[in-house]
Amino acid sequence: MIQIEHLHKSFGDLDVLEDVSLNIHEGETLAIIGQSGSGKSVLMKHIVGLLSPDRGRVLVDDVDICSVPYERLREVRKHFGVLFQGGALFDSMTSEENVAFPLEYFSSRSPAEIKARVAECLELVRMPDVGPKKPAELSGGMRKRVALARAIALEPKYILYDEPTSGLDPKTSNTIDELIQQLAEEMNVTSVVVTHDMHSVFNIADRAAFLYGKSLHWVGPIDAIHNRDDPVLDSFVTASEYHVGTHPTASSPS
């Protein structure tokens, strides 16, 4: 379980997060939503200790990752797989070398076992044939899928997705959504998806956390997101192109 308690973060004079508290339960898929610049990615980076809060703390399985020594933090991070916005594949390596990278350094598998696991991961993300290709030879969607294969190689307990569908066409976005769902079910991982793509949120999330005005404005199950009593949340949800005409109370064009 991940617990975020009273998190404050600012960069210079710019306050980004103020008093954010959030629990992420085992096995769930939580979407962190909000407008661009609302602090979603900053919050995600705190969850893996890439950023340190000014105040507050983050507990991962009861370990306060904001105060542990660096070596302990590295151990905690091994429970995470992260899909970065641009994939963050190592461009000097081929796709299969990228996927094999964490296995070579953090598992006791033999070379043959590593090769088999790489093939398995690439198969799981439906990219079995791109092994010899370098990231520069892949499209944006393909890069994200290879990056996802790398993120799951060590069978992490938590997978964090930073804008997994941004910049992708709708069909590829749907494929990524399906993969997120599939991995959550087959590997029983806890997933945290940072996105402003409401189409994805409705497809994959069990719960959503809405960041607005530097703080956590709303948290709840995805079924309760059509909250007409909350104009800020409602305005964000209905602004999604996907949602036009599908909202139960959306008015018809006159």
């Binding site: 893996v48 890439l50 963050a88 461009d91």
Partner: protein, 232 residues
């Protein structure tokens, strides 16, 4: 730098990186260092001969000036300036791109110590390869001077070598080696720091690269003066 030395247990991982960086910093720099050293040695010889042509000093003095100049100053400083551009800019651009494309974050999230993984092999490779390049530049530079002296009829090889021997101090090559180790550390450390802490996108990478090259040259000059004052 404290974190860089923290995880000695990953020595196996970093050995491969170290060898790769030695090739990139050292072996791949050989052609440009050879070119610069040969021309510097040759030009120094011709200009020294020109300056001494009307004086009543023997030709051997040219060798006495060219060889110590290469050993004490020129081989080390010219190598450092070339590598500040070639190696320093490359390291800063490489690490800066890794930073802005989140590849460094990806290493950290996997549980790797990114500082040890990326910076330590580069700095160590610089400290090891710069002295090797200095020795190489010395030999090529002196060879260039000797070659042009003979080819242009300025003085004979025998006179050149005799002059070099006359005022040779055993400490001269050691001083050059100390300088080159210092310069290697300065250039790779500044480049790694600038690259690792790059902010922003392509503009940030460009800025880091420029700062790495310029600041390396400035600190090389300061270190050059400090070592000369302290050790000579």
């Amino acid at each position: 730098m404290g974190r860089a030395f923290a995880s000695v247990r990953e020595v196996r991982t970093y050995w491969t990186n170290f060898i790769t960086q030695m090739v990139r910093i050292g072996v791949e720099s050989i052609p440009i260092v050879a070119l610069a050293a040969a021309f510097t040695g040759a030009v120094l010889t011709v200009q020294t001969a020109y300056q001494l042509q009307t004086s009543f000093v023997p030709n051997t003095i040219i060798g006495s000036i060219v060889v110590p100049s290469m050993m004490l100053e020129l081989a080390a400083v010219i190598t450092a300036f070339i590598l500040a551009g070639r190696v320093g800019a490359r390291i800063a651009a490489e690490l800066g791109t890794m930073r802005v494309s989140e590849q460094i974050d990806a290493l950290e999230v996997m549980g790797l110590n990114s500082i040890s993984f990326l910076i330590l092999p580069r700095v160590l490779a610089g400290v090891v390869m710069f002295p090797a390049l200095y020795i190489f530049a010395c030999l090529i530079g002196i060879g260039g001077g000797l070659g042009i002296a003979e080819a242009a009829g300025l003085l004979s090889t025998t006179e050149f070598i005799e002059g070099a021997r006359q005022f040779y101090q055993p400490f001269d090559p050691y001083f050059g080696l100390i300088k080159s180790i210092t310069f290697g550390f300065i250039i790779t450390s500044i480049a790694c720091y600038k690259g690792y802490y790059t902010q922003g996108g392509a503009e940030g990478v460009g800025q880091s690269t420029t700062e790495a090259a310029v600041q390396s040259c400035v600190f090389v000059l300061l270190a050059d003066l400090a070592l000369a004052v302290l050790l000579l």
